[in-house]
Structure formats: structure tokens, C-alpha cells
Amino acid sequence: MAREEQISKNLDWVTVLLYILCVSIGWANIYAAIYNPENPLWIGDAGFFESNAGKQLIFLGSTVLLIIAILVIDYRFYDTFAFFIYAFFIFLLLAVLLLGSEVKGSHSWFKIGSFSLQPAEFAKTATALALAKYISTPLVNLSRFKDQFNAGLIIIIPPILILASNETGVALVFAAFLILLYREGFPGVYVAICLSVIILFVISLFFPVWQIWIGLVVLAGLIVWLLPRYERKLRNIALIFGVVVAMGLFVTTVSWVINNVLKPHQRNRIIVLVDPTFDRKKTGYNVWQAKIAIGSGGLTGKGYLQGTQTKFDFVPEQDTDFIFCTVGEEHGFVGTFFVVALFVGLLLRILHLADRQKNRFARVYGYGVASIIFFHFMVNLAMTIGLMPVIGIPLPFFSYGGSSLWSFSILLFIFLKLDSHRSQMLSRW
């Protein structure tokens, strides 16, 4: 009993409150998304628990049990067994490739009766644990190439397996660990390269290659001209132009890949981004309908259960990946502002908790949690409001789906468990 008292005392209730807000608002929106005015279902009605809202309620109940289990398990378990857990999920990812059932073209689901489970969702948590374990190993220094390589290996194995099972969206999430690595002393130049790659990629979508080349050369000339006289050495000038040529070659390659390597449906997703009016009936349908739904919400929205776009199935995947549309349509800008603020608040809170850890394992894991949730939040919202191509990943705590809800809850509550024991965990630094 004393033990439970201790947990409830040390648990960060602010985060718990934010979490409860997220899942309850999320559930209310799932209910609205599948709401049928001709046949409204409420708890107790026949067929309610066959509907997605009913199922999600079951998932929520089971999540509570999971959370209690996590909080009860000894906090040293996660540190100690981090690599075992990681290895176990690598094994599951391999197994699902061979034994999994196919759902919507992807081979990443275990089906047990009417229940299906996606190990890829949980692999994120496992990878965060393994990465935290590795980085917190004494003498690991991320500015050294060997350690960089090992950390990279831990990160890269699961997404490769996930890609093999045709789940591009989930695989991309592992890129989020770059934030974690950056915090832990990964050289800034890598991050700079990554950012410039993203920026150049976006630029290459909007401008023809020759224009970008001209722009880059002009930019390089400008930098050289602005350099102080004493810095205008041949070496520096050559370096600058070398970087520019590398950038140009990258852009050329990207546009070549887009035009010659990508499959038409992938290319179309990118074209939709550049030209929102492209193919509204098929490729651009999701993005266009999602924007209509959100945009028609106005300032205060149409009212709960009054959204015509989400209710009448205009937005596909509206209870999973496009759940944010329901918020936007029924609650307007007020609602979307609240949800965005909720996520930013939750992320800042997690970052704050992470930075107060004395133990490096807990801190790195905390950054891992924040990175994953942040990546999901960023990509999912950017996709729904037409700032990024459609990448099918769920909005944490909001989207319908047992695997997703469970994996995010486990991810978060392992961290909260570690946090509640922060005074007991010895800092190894």
C-alpha cells in the first residue's frame, strides 16, 4: 500500500491530466465521426460495441489496465530489459512478415480472433528504450563515429523491417529520433544537413531544376562577396561552391527520382501538395475533402455532431488518420486552437520532465517519447491541413485504433513511471 501511495504522490499529474484530456476529446470526436443521425447509437444500444466508438471505449478500458500494470512493474525493469524488449519486437516484426495477415495492402497485422495487433506501433517504444539504454551506457559519446553508427543501427533496423511489410508511414516515424540524438550531443552539422535536405526537397517540388541551380550559384556568389576579406581564401570559396554543387546535384537527383523512379500514385501524392486542385476526384480527394471539412468549420464550428462533411463520409479515414477534420469542422478554429495548444503543452511538459531527470536513461527515453509524439502530431496535422503529402500515421490519443492507443499510452506511462522514481534513480553522470 505504501508503494501505491508513493506512486500517486510522485506521478506527474499535470501530464496525466493532459493525457486524459487528449483521450477523452479524442473519443468524443471518434463518436462524432461515425455518428449516423438516422441511427444514433449510445452505450447500451444494440450494436454499439460493434461500432468504432464502442470498440474504442473497450480499448480505453483495457488501456487503463495496461497503465496500472506499467505503474506496478518495477521501474528498473525497463532499464534492465531494454535490449531484450527491443530484440523481442525485432523478432515480432520478422514474424509478422511471415505470419501476419494482410490489411489494406500492408502485411503488418497479427490477427487473433476479431482482434488485430500491429507490432510496428510498439516497435517505436522498444526502439526508444533500446536507444536510451545504449546512449546511457557509460563512455558512449555521440560525437564519436562508432557510437553514432551503433545508435544509427538501433534506429534503422525496425523501419527497414516495417518498410518490408509495406507500412511507409510508421517507418518514417523513426526519423523522429534525430531530435533525441541532437539533444544528446549528436553533431549539429548532421541536423543542418537533414534540415537543408528537407528544405531543398520542398524547393525542388515547386521550382524547375535549372532555376534552383541558378539560385544556388547566385547565393554562393553572394556569400563569397559578403565574406570578410581575410576569409576569402581559396579553401573557403571552394568549400562554399562544393556545398552548392552538392545541393544542386541533390535537387537534380530528387526531381529525377520523382519523375522516373516513384510509382504514379506516390508521385501524385506529391503533385497534390504542389497543386491543391490536382485530381480532386481521386488522388487529391483526401486532401481536398479534409481541407473542406476543416475550412467549413469557421471560427466556432458547426457544433458537436452537426458536421456535415465528417458525418456523411466525405472525408475518408475520418475516425483514424483524419480525425482532426472532425475537430476542425464541428468546433472550428476555437477547437483546433485548443487541440494544437494541448499537444504543444503536452510536448513541452514531457520535455520539461525529461530535462529534470538525473538519470540519463530516463532523460533520453523522455526525449524519445517527446520526439515520437511530436513527429506524429506534426505529420498528421500537416497532412490533414494540406502542408505535407498524405502519410498515413495516426494522431496520438485521438485516432481510432487499439494498437495506436495502447502503444502511445505505454510509451508515455513508462516515462511517467520512470519520472516518478527520479529521486531513486542514480545519475551515472
Binding site: 539533444r183 475550412g295 478554429f333 486552437f337 520535455l351 502530431f377
Partner: protein, 665 residues
């Protein structure tokens, strides 16, 4: 280092949040276009077409009304037809038709209703209604069909049809958006002219639909719905009984009868012969019948009274006499001999007065009158003198509505032609190159004059009213309040003093009693005042024209009858006019044998448009009744252009080539 990185990561999270909020602010609050797109997506406007206004005659008899009809719709997803054969026999379609209709509906949508069978009558509907429970997925929608009480007046009433692409474009140019593709609108006749009154106000129902287009209940509980408002009824001045009688007189003939009540300008009867059964152009068989009607060389689809082109012939002498009297160039007692006139006359006593000139329709008399009208100015140069005279004459004649629009309440009213100084300058390629002798044929209503039957009926009304008219119109009142355009109440003066009418009207009276009009046309107890006319043609027999009013004092009816290719003067037209007058004034026709005779009389063998169809007969030689010998001008000048009889559709133009016959074979 760590601190900076910690801050940078937090800054990045906050930055992304701000970017999202900015974007959301833009698409949700600042940009309105998504709201419209959402309404287009999920809200379907269902148009409710109101009942079109009905049409009544002057005795409140219903002539045009709406019959409910039933369109059968199918929703493929719900449709179950267990016994296809029974279904087919029920609706009288073949198995192949059933299959193709089903296929079309499936291709359109599996969940949305498609039109399956169009326009089932009420009887058919009653027959199938009970069995329809066996066929889920089918439902009926009511609409209305235009129905006509009689076969009369098809052209004047007009028909309704699907709106043409051109009218949709016109509407767009005007910035209106009432009509959509597939809407029914008045295409001709009163249906067209009074379209806005008849159509009523469409209602709109807003329904919510899902992404498959299935209806999901009323939007906002129907608060935004608009109820349809039924169209206004038209109360016409037509006397259906008289119309039907006039129709029967005009069978086997081509031409027009227009009768007007002179005191009100109300049109009592408007016959355009040949006509057709207006019920044929309503409903399912429209395209089938329209085609045969459009290809008919007699152009039954042309409403001749306001649209056909004829020369007025001698009926125009009434106007010449009045203009001469008003100008003072002649007096009631002026007389002219036959000498010196290049036009011939029929044997009759010397016309020593206006009265006699009109009575005998004396060509040389009106040649002299017109010469005086034209030369009634001090200008010494004969060319300039002619121009000044013609200008003055033109202005005075125009007041009779000649060459002007009378603003009849029908579409396609033709102005006709009244030659002006500019016109002759153009024909003779310059000013001062023509004089009276070049335009002399105008004196007897030939040459470049063109009128329509409605115009000449109006001239008869002017005679009856002694100097004024009210614009002829068919509709006395619109809707319950009986509103009418004020222009149909206004007296229009023709600028001739009332006293000048007496000698001309006496002439008209005696023309009927002992003059040019055949004895048959006289009615013992009704004094008809009339004037015959012969409208010359390039090909084929002359058109017979008669305009009249009756009785002489307190006239109740003014009438113009045109019978195409029926021959000289009032031969055919006058008896028909006489019978219509008798019918209207007495309410019945006592001259049974005579009406029988005229009903059965046919002039079809004279119609040039029909010659080519049966056998290529050369046009019969035209009786040489009028000849205008031109006094040769010093310089050779082009001849005045003869104007062929023409209607709005060129097909009526007398064609001697074989185009029509080929098409009909």
C-alpha cells in the same frame, strides 16, 4: 551547448504549433471558399417546380391546363425485380429496353435514383400503383404535363419545351440564374411571352446527402426551404367558340384570320392555318411530332398572324385615302378619271368621290391621290419634291403601325416594311435619282410594302374606331388581380381627324353592299364595312385579303382574313370574314350551307410549296389584273426589288427548286 539545444528543440515544437495555427486561421476563418465547397458537398438543393399558370378564354373557359404525370425512378442498389416479364408487360416495354434502362441506371449510380420511365399517364399510374409494392427500389415522382382543351390556336398559345442552350447563354449574359439545363420553358406563343408570369416561383428544399449521394434528412430542419409559388393564370381575350369556328373555315387553306374587338384592342380570334394539335407537342412524343411538323412545307409551326409577310394590296388604299384627306390634297368630293394613270382598272363607274374610289377600289384614282400626296410641296426639283413628299407620307403611314412593331403580346412579331427615303436612295444608289413614278406602285399597296395579318386587323380596328387603336393583345389579365401592361389600355391616335373617316367608311360599306366584295359576304341585318385586297406573288396565285369591321355604327369586331394563293381580291377572304362576323355578333351562323361550302373549300392545289411534292407543275399563269408600266427614266435605273412573301422561317418562301421535295421523300 546543452542549454541551447534544449531551447532550440522547444522553439521548434512551438514554431510548428504556430505554423499550424496560422494555417488553420487562414483556412477556417479567413478563407470562405471551403464553406461553399462543403455546402456543395453535403447539401443538395432539390428544386420543386410549381404548377404552371393555366390559360382561360374570354368566357372563363379553361383552354390550357396541367395534367399530373408520373415519372418512374429506380435505385439500382435497392431494386428487386423478381418477375421481369411481368414488369415489362406492366409498363409495356420490351425485355431489351428493360435491360438497357437498367444498365444506364447502374452506370449512373447504384445508390442514386435514375429516371426509368418518363411521363406515365394518370391511368397508367393507377393501374400499376398497387403492384409496385412487389418491386422495391422503384418510386414515382409527380410532375405536370401541359394539356390543351382544343386543337385550336396551337401557335398563338405556343408550347413548352426544354430550355435551349442559347437561352441558357442569354440568361447568363444577363446575369440571371433562374433556369438550369433541362428546365421546361415556354418556347413560342403566349407560353413564351408570358413565361415569367406563368412559371411561378420555384421552391427549394435543402436536403443533406452523404458522400454516396443518399439523402439524409432535411438540412436545418427545413428552415431555409422555400415553398414553390404556383404560376399566375392568364385570362385571354380569345373567344374559343369563335376561334374553333374560324379554324374550321380555314381548313384546307393556308392563311390567317385575326379578329379584334376595336374598343379594347383585345384579340378575339387568331387563326394560323394550317395548325396542329398542341397536345402532340406536350410530353413524351414531342420530338417525334416536332420533326414532322418542322419538315412540313406548309410550316404549321409558324404563327402567321404576327409573323407572316404579305403585301397589303388594295386594302392599303384606305390608308392612302385617309392620308390624302388629312393632308388636304383631296377632299371627299375629289374625283379622278382613268386617263394618265399607268395602272389599269376593272370596269366600274367613274370614281367621282373618295367614297366611290374606295367602293370600286379604283387603281387610277389612288394613283392620282398618291401623286398628289407625294408632290404636295413647293420644291421645284421633281426628285427632291418626291423625297420630301415620301418622307411626309412615310411618317403619316407609320402611325397606322405599318412598318412598326405593334407590340402584340406574342413573340416573333415582325415589323413588316414601310419604304423610306433612305430605302429608295439605297435602291437607286444615290439621292435624287428617283421620283414619284418609281414608287407609284405603293399607291395601291404593292411594291415594297409588307404587312402582317395582325397589322391589317389593327387597320380595320382603326377604321372602326375612326382614328385610334389600342395595341392588339391576347391577354386581358394576368393572375387573380388581372394585372395587365398599361400599354394595352392606352389609346393610340393615328393622326387623322375623325371627320375624314366618314367618306372612306361609306366607301367600305358600299364596297360590301354593291362594290368589289362578292354578294355572298353580305349579311342582311349586319352592316359590314370592308375592303378587299389582292396580294401579288412572284410565284403562284395571288393571296386573297379582306379586312372589315361590323357593324358600321358601334363596331364590335374588326377582322382581317388572309387566304394564301386563293386568288383575286376578296373572293375567298370576304365570305370567311363575313361568317366569322356573323358568328361573333349573332352567336350563331344562320347561313349553314355557305359555311359548309367554305369549310370544305380547298386552295391547297394552288400552294406552290406543295407542287413539287406531288408533281412538278409549272406555276399557273397569274391573272393579269394589275400592271404597272414604268415610265422610263432617262438613265437606266434598277427596278424596285420585288419582295417575295416571306415568314420568319424561310421555308415558306416560295421555292421552285427541289430542296423540300427531296427532304420529304
Amino acid at each position: 551547448m546543452d542549454e541551447i539545444r534544449k531551447m532550440l528543440i522547444r522553439a521548434f515544437v512551438i514554431l510548428i504549433g504556430i505554423i499550424f495555427l496560422a494555417r488553420l486561421l487562414y483556412i477556417q476563418v479567413l478563407d470562405d471558399s471551403y464553406k461553399m465547397a462543403a455546402d456543395n458537398n453535403a447539401i443538395r438543393k432539390i428544386v420543386q417546380v410549381p404548377f404552371r399558370g393555366q390559360v382561360y378564354d374570354r368566357k372563363n373557359k379553361l383552354i390550357v391546363f396541367n395534367t399530373p404525370i408520373y415519372d418512374l425512378y429506380v435505385t439500382p442498389k435497392k431494386a428487386r425485380v423478381a418477375d421481369t416479364l411481368r414488369f415489362c408487360s406492366l409498363f409495356d416495354i420490351t425485355r431489351a429496353e428493360f435491360d438497357s434502362l437498367t444498365k444506364i441506371a447502374r452506370t449512373y449510380s447504384r445508390v442514386r435514383p435514375s429516371l426509368f420511365i418518363r411521363q406515365l399517364s394518370q391511368q397508367d399510374y393507377a393501374r400499376v400503383q398497387d403492384v409496385m409494392v412487389d418491386y422495391p427500389g422503384f418510386h414515382f415522382q409527380t410532375s405536370a404535363l401541359r394539356s390543351y382543351e382544343s386543337k385550336s390556336m396551337a401557335n398563338a398559345l405556343g408550347y413548352i419545351g426544354e430550355i435551349s442552350p442559347k437561352r441558357l447563354e442569354d440568361q447568363e449574359a444577363k446575369g440571371e440564374d433562374y433556369y438550369r439545363q433541362g428546365d421546361y420553358v415556354g418556347v413560342t406563343g403566349l407560353e413564351r411571352y408570358y413565361e415569367e408570369e406563368l412559371r411561378g416561383q420555384r421552391g427549394i428544399k435543402y436536403m443533406m446527402v452523404n458522400s454516396n449521394g443518399m439523402e439524409k434528412g432535411a438540412f436545418k430542419d427545413g428552415k431555409l426551404d422555400e415553398m414553390p409559388i404556383a404560376g399566375k393564370n392568364l385570362y385571354t381575350s380569345i373567344d374559343v367558340e369563335l376561334q374553333q369556328f374560324a379554324d374550321s373555315l380555314m381548313q384546307h387553306k393556308v392563311g390567317s384570320v385575326v379578329a379584334i374587338e376595336p374598343s379594347t384592342g383585345e384579340i378575339l380570334t387568331m387563326v394560323s392555318a394550317p395548325t396542329y394539335d398542341p397536345n402532340l407537342l406536350s410530353g413524351r412524343n414531342f420530338s417525334k411530332y416536332y420533326k414532322t411538323l418542322a419538315l412540313n412545307p406548309l410550316n404549321p409551326l409558324v404563327n402567321r398572324p404576327p409573323s407572316a409577310y404579305y403585301r397589303p394590296g388594295s386594302t392599303f388604299k384606305l390608308i392612302q385615302a385617309l392620308v390624302g384627306l388629312q393632308m388636304g390634297v383631296i377632299g371627299p368630293g375629289s374625283g379622278f378619271g382613268h386617263a394618265g394613270a399607268p395602272v389599269k382598272c376593272h370596269g366600274h363607274p367613274l370614281a367621282g368621290t373618295v367614297h366611290a374610289g374606295v367602293q370600286w377600289s379604283c387603281n387610277p384614282y389612288f394613283y392620282q391621290v398618291f401623286k398628289r400626296i407625294i408632290y404636295n410641296n413647293p420644291e421645284p426639283n421633281v426628285f427632291k419634291k418626291s423625297a420630301i413628299g415620301l418622307q411626309r407620307w412615310n411618317e403619316m403611314v407609320a402611325k397606322f403601325g405599318i412598318g412598326q412593331e405593334l407590340e402584340v403580346d406574342l413573340p416573333n412579331e415582325k415589323k413588316g416594311k414601310l419604304p423610306s427615303v433612305e430605302y429608295y436612295n439605297k435602291v437607286y444608289k444615290g439621292e435624287n435619282r428617283w421620283k414619284f413614278s418609281n414608287v407609284a406602285s405603293l399607291s395601291i399597296g404593292e411594291g415594297e410594302l409588307v404587312v402582317s395579318p395582325v397589322k391589317m386587323a389593327n387597320v380595320a380596328a382603326i377604321m372602326a374606331n375612326r382614328g385610334w387603336y389600342i395595341r392588339p393583345h391576347m391577354v386581358k389579365g394576368v393572375g387573380k388581380l388581372g394585372e395587365i401592361d398599361p400599354k394595352y389600355k392606352e389609346h393610340v391616335s393615328v393622326g387623322i381627324d375623325e371627320r375624314h373617316f366618314d367618306p372612306v367608311i361609306w366607301g367600305m360599306m358600299d364596297a360590301v353592299n354593291r362594290g368589289t366584295v362578292s354578294a355572298e359576304a353580305r349579311i342582311p341585318d349586319i352592316q359590314i364595312c370592308g375592303k378587299t385586297g389582292t396580294s401579288q406573288n412572284r410565284v403562284g396565285k395571288d393571296h386573297s385579303i379582306f379586312i372589315a369591321f361590323a357593324p358600321k355604327d358601334n363596331p364590335r369586331i374588326a377582322i382581317a382574313v388572309f387566304v394564301e394563293n386563293a386568288g383575286f381580291g376578296g373572293f375567298a377572304a370576304a365570305p370567311i370574314a363575313s361568317l366569322v362576323i356573323e358568328k361573333f355578333i349573332k352567336g350563331k351562323v344562320e347561313r349553314k350551307a355557305m359555311s359548309e361550302k367554305w369549310m370544305n373549300k380547298s386552295f391547297m392545289m394552288n400552294i406552290p410549296a406543295l407542287w413539287n411534292i406531288n408533281k412538278p407543275v409549272p406555276p399557273p399563269v397569274k391573272p393579269d389584273t394589275l400592271k404597272i408600266t414604268q415610265t422610263q427614266p432617262k438613265t437606266p435605273l434598277p427596278q424596285p426589288i420585288p419582295i417575295p412573301v416571306k415568314t420568319s422561317k424561310d421555308i415558306l418562301t416560295v421555292n421552285s427548286d427541289n430542296k423540300n421535295s427531296k427532304r420529304l421523300k
